[in-house]
Amino acid sequence: MHKLRTERRWIVAAAALAALAVGAKGADADEPGPGGARPMVPKNGAEVYEVYCQVCHMAGGKGAAGAARFPALAANARLGTAAYAIYMVDNGKAGMPGFKEALTPAQVAEVVAYLRTHFGNAYAEPVTASDVQAMRGQ
């Protein structure tokens, strides 16, 4: 039994190394190293928005323009479909990263519900963590 478990451990380690050799991501980017490992933990939808979304979609969900655009979330009819918003937060689109790994189902539900009821959006139907879990196949 013990031997079996040990062997499995080798196989897992070997599989990880083999994966590195074939589907490598490439050189490590220039990053702060181990710094910043304890970020703020958002407690509600407004805080999730402030910590993760506001950098691109701006305060008030106004969006912004440069060489291209960050879409406005204010008065955005697409938020009427909660599943669309959940999908975007989880998976991202083009330059926008997905937040599936960073945010819990509850946090995604909270930020989507927040966006649907603020910034000129009024979609009162609640969004729950289980909606997010269902879309994640959990």
Binding site: H2, R5, T6, E7, R9, W10, I11, A13, A14, A15, L17, A18, A19, A21, V22, G23, A24, K25, G26, A27, D28, A29, D30, E31, P32, G33, P34, G35, G36, A37, R38, P39, M40, E50, V51, Y52, C53, Q54, V55, C56, M58, A59, K62, A64, A65, G66, A67, A68, R69, F70, G92, K93, A94, G95, M96, P97, G98, A102
Partner: protein, 529 residues
């Protein structure tokens, strides 16, 4: 004990890899164990004999675009570069006193640094093995100086260890290694490693642990031997009271909680090993040097809105950012270095596959904050000369200037290099709020001086930089597998280049290697056409 028995020997690991990945994987692992090559660069491309009158339009005057233009013109092409900004250099950029920088959303900052001071918002350190960049720096006359990457006398701070007190890197690193050595030594004595190693190897390992772990003759990490690395309670002096007093190692539990192992691992990474370099006077000097080589070729203020190709050639439509006037540029070929964040929103007639690849790569969101201080208190009060102090707070680290040591007058500290959640959070703040957060968090290292000596600051949140809208391309194993080859393939007359089209992503080296590869293929195709 059980854990130790569970560790595979190298041979067992090879066997397991062979089972899973076949001989190719074993070969790959063997070359990895053997040696790793330092660079792919074997000299600048030797392109000659372009067809008379052949035209190339290059999109973007960053390093990839300017190198493409420089080398293609040398090969005989007529080259024009379209650049969105009024400056050249792309992310090889510095903010100096007198600069005005307006981010997306409209917040403007007037940089008030003293003459000679700067913030490198993007690239700031160059590995010694990034030979392409080093080659062109030398060829184009960019003076480089050392970038102090590892400073044993800087701090490591964790809110989770030592009651939130920052500790010197030197002491934490020595205590971590010393404790590991002592524990392994005991494990050898207790026959814990007998199944893994022969008696002779155990003897050698024990000797290695004693030397590497700074253990005393009893295989203990303590006293004078440890103090020579971690620092003394009373350092050696001269004369009557010259004898030193050894220091006490920290409690190992706290050392583990500090996360110092992650710092040790960081500095072992190939991209972060010493020696590293920086341009004298700021990263913009690299942008400037490349720009001098392509003088007269760059159209500034050109916002590309459309990129089309057909049998006859390439047509780029762009709007002048100042006048709004719409213009077109026709060419035989196009090297497009526009970041994927922006390119994904430009109308093209590229294939569906290529469009999917352009849309498949998210960008990171880093923030850098420069804080100008009245005096170099880190040098004068704490004997810190360059390098980084790390924290688990959102700012990630503070980094000390690598030049002008011992000088009087104001100096600029890097007050934050935030990435991941911290990068998003700080980036979402106003410039004034970012400075306040950087002061509040960074003060943990220099509580007496930090706010007192602060003069002014500037920040760049890469997601809000109008011409790139993100820091750099973040591939993962899946996107590499599904889209990378498509993204870098030349599609008829158009080829993409930039850090995003390389395996050295987020580095200038990647932009240059990608550019050389792209123009070499472009030239070959043009000659075959």
């Amino acid at each position: 004990m059980e854990q130790a028995q569970g560790r595979p020997t190298r041979r067992q690991l090879m066997h397991a890899i062979g089972l899973i990945g076949g001989t190719a994987a074993v070969y790959q692992m063997m070359t990895t164990f053997g040696h790793a090559a330092e660079t792919r660069f074997d000299g600048p491309p030797q392109l000659t004999g372009a067809r008379k009158g052949a035209r190339v339009v290059v999109l973007g005057a960053g390093l990839a675009g300017m190198l493409a233009a420089y080398e293609l013109r040398k090969a005989g092409y007529q080259v024009k570069i379209l650049e969105f900004q009024q400056r050249a250099g792309g992310r090889a950029w510095s903010l100096y006193g007198g600069d005005r920088y307006t981010e997306m959303g409209g917040a403007a900052q007037d940089v008030r640094f003293a003459k000679g001071n700067y913030l490198n918002p993007g690239p700031w350190r160059i590995p010694h093995h990034h030979r392409t960049l080093l080659h062109y720096c030398k060829a184009f006359g960019v003076a480089l100086e050392p970038f102090i990457q590892l400073n044993h006398n800087a701090y490591v701070h964790s809110t989770e260890a030592f009651g939130g007190q920052p500790m010197r890197y030197r002491a934490l690193a020595a205590d971590f290694n010393g404790n590991i050595a002592e524990i392994l030594g005991k494990s050898i004595d207790q026959k814990g490693l007998d199944q893994q190693l022969t008696a002779e190897d155990l003897d050698r390992l024990k000797e290695a642990l004693r030397g590497w772990g700074l253990l005393d003759k009893d295989m203990r990490y303590r006293g004078e031997r440890a103090s020579r690395s971690r620092g003394w309670a009373l350092p050696p002096g001269g004369g009557v009271n010259g004898a030193p007093k050894p220091s006490e190692p920290y409690a190992f539990g706290e050392v583990l909680k500090s996360g110092i192992w992650a710092n040790l691992a960081f500095f072992m990474n190939h991209e972060f090993q010493t020696t590293m370099f920086q341009p004298v006077g700021g990263m913009q000097k690299i942008g400037d040097a490349f720009a001098r080589q392509v003088q007269g070729l760059v159209v500034h203020g050109a916002r590309v809105t459309r990129l089309m190709q057909d049998k006859a050639g390439v047509t780029v439509t762009y709007a002048d950012t100042l006048s709004g006037q719409v213009k077109t540029e026709a060419a035989d070929y196009c090297v497009c270095t526009i970041p994927l964040t922006v390119l994904s929103q430009i109308e093209t007639n590229l294939s569906e596959k290529m469009t999917a690849a352009i849309n498949a790569v998210p960008y990171s969101s880093s923030v850098k904050i420069g804080l100008e201080m009245r005096r170099r208190f880190w040098e004068e009060d704490q004997e810190i000369f360059g390098g980084h102090s790390f924290t688990n707070q959102e700012i990630g680290l503070i980094s000390y200037p690598n030049s002008g040591f011992f000088s009087n007058g104001p100096a600029v500290l890097l007050g934050a290099f935030a990435n991941g959640p911290g990068g998003y959070h700080l980036g979402g703040m106003s410039p004034a709020e970012r400075i306040e957060a950087a002061l509040a968090q960074g003060a943990v290292f220099h509580p007496e001086a930090y706010r007192k000596e602060f003069l002014n600051g500037a920040s760049v949140a890469w997601s809000r930089v109008p011409w790139v809208m993100g820091c750099c391309a973040r591939w993962n194993e899946e996107s590499r597998r599904d889209h990378y080859q498509t993204l870098v393939a030349m599609e008829d007359r158009i080829v993409l280049a930039g850090e995003h089209a390389s395996y050295v992503g987020c580095w200038m080296e990647g932009a240059l290697l990608s550019s050389i590869d792209a123009i070499t293929r472009l030239h070959k195709r043009a000659l075959e056409a």
